[in-house]
């Protein structure tokens, strides 16, 4: 295969889509091709993003099994050229585990925020100032170091997540798959102050998948609710809630 042909295999390689024989040829080529190496690195990182998009929560027992199993599995020696840490072999494993944990946590946090900021940046171009300020505030709540989330099922199979930052005293509600409200009606959000509902604004009636910054401070609210109200909203709920969610506890 010619070099030019080999170069077009970067995509198939990053997706692990090369049969064994071609894999060996390509890897030999890769050893001498700086440009291919860089491209493979970027395309592999891109492929990993596809993986990140299909998360599934494992059963609780799997966590116990894995954490039990690792106590019996010895870690490999570090890659060539990496300095050994002094202080006994027992410590090296621990130190690498921490370093890896820190890298993963940082990558996860950064990934989420970067994605979010990207969306905010795009939204901002299309929206008026008020909306832009709102989405910035919304992004700040979601990326606040003390942001906590809780989620639940809403009626009709929709799913809701609420993010609360105590330091910012604000909350964000994220809905997915909510049915549109009946014509002439809107969804209104409420803070639950020990059973008394305080208006927290309206949801955009056009969107079925939405992120809303709740109007006003969280203060002592212990949760939130959603009701269907006449267009323009109501001073207090006039129908029974379609959803009630508790805020995450610290």
């Amino acid at each position: 295969m010619s070099t030019a042909e080999l170069h077009t295999l970067t995509g198939a390689y990053a997706l692990h889509a090369l049969p064994d024989t071609e894999l060996r040829d390509f890897e030999r080529h890769l050893a001498d091709c700086e440009a291919c190496t860089q491209e493979v690195r970027e395309l592999s990182a891109t492929a990993a993003r596809l993986g990140l998009a299909v998360a599934e929560t494992p059963p609780r027992e799997m966590r116990d099994r894995v954490l039990r199993e690792i106590t019996t599995v010895r870690q490999e020696a570090p890659a060539h050229g990496r300095p050994e840490r002094t202080g006994g072999s027992g410590r090296t494993g621990r130190w690498y585990a921490y370093a890896l944990a820190a890298c993963v946590a940082a990558a996860a946090a950064f990934g989420g925020v970067a994605v979010w900021q990207n969306q905010v940046a795009q939204d901002a171009r299309q929206e008026a100032d008020r909306a832009q300020r709102q989405s910035e505030e919304l992004a700040q709540v979601i990326s606040a170091p003390d942001a906590k989330t809780s989620s639940g099922e809403l009626t009709g199979g929709a799913h809701g997540t609420v993010v609360v930052s105590q330091s910012r005293n604000r909350a964000v509600f994220l809905a997915s798959g909510m049915e549109r409200p009946p014509s002439g009606k809107v969804y209104q959000l409420w803070f639950n102050d020990a059973g008394t509902m305080r208006s927290a604004g309206l949801m955009d009636p056009k969107a079925s998948d939405d992120a809303v910054l709740l109007d006003g401070p969280v203060d002592r609210a212990s949760g939130m609710g959603i009701t269907v109200e006449p267009a323009g909203g109501s001073a207090e709920p006039t129908s029974s809630p379609v959803a009630l969610m508790d805020f995450p506890t610290a």
């Binding site: 090369l18 998009a53 621990r94």
Partner: protein, 173 residues
Amino acid sequence: MRVARGDQDAFAAVYDAVSRPVLGLVRSVLRDPAQSEEVAQEVLVEVWRTAPRYQPSRGSAMNWVLTLAHHRAVDRVRSAEAAAAREHKAALLERTPAFDEVTEQVESRLEREQVRRCLRTLSELQRESVTLAYYRGLTYREVSELLSVPLGTIKTRLRDGLIRLRDCLGVSA
């Protein structure tokens, strides 16, 4: 203080950060729930075992873990027994990846939406080729056969499809 907490606690943090995408990815390739859990568990133990070999200069830790998970899932699906039981054409084409999974974490929801949005910017052939290779673990030869499109075209679509995704997602490495 941190060191006093012990190895297992440190790895528990890694587990919590990566186990959901690992299982999701393995499951999308293998389909079978029991087999997927088994492979996901092997991957997570391998992450522990080979963690000292992870080099941050070669990409993020999450990347490293997901690349490993994809490799293991693909190895399993291409192994002899699995190949015999492999779903036939129609089933492979019909199924879409499990994008609709309910997720409790805001970051993964946003991530999923961005990936989905960027996949829509690909041509149909690019999207089909990339998703069949990645989410179903097919070789490019199998993709070519399945879609009845020449080998050279599939190679090119896998590459230009990923390049377009890279640019849309803003991936740098």
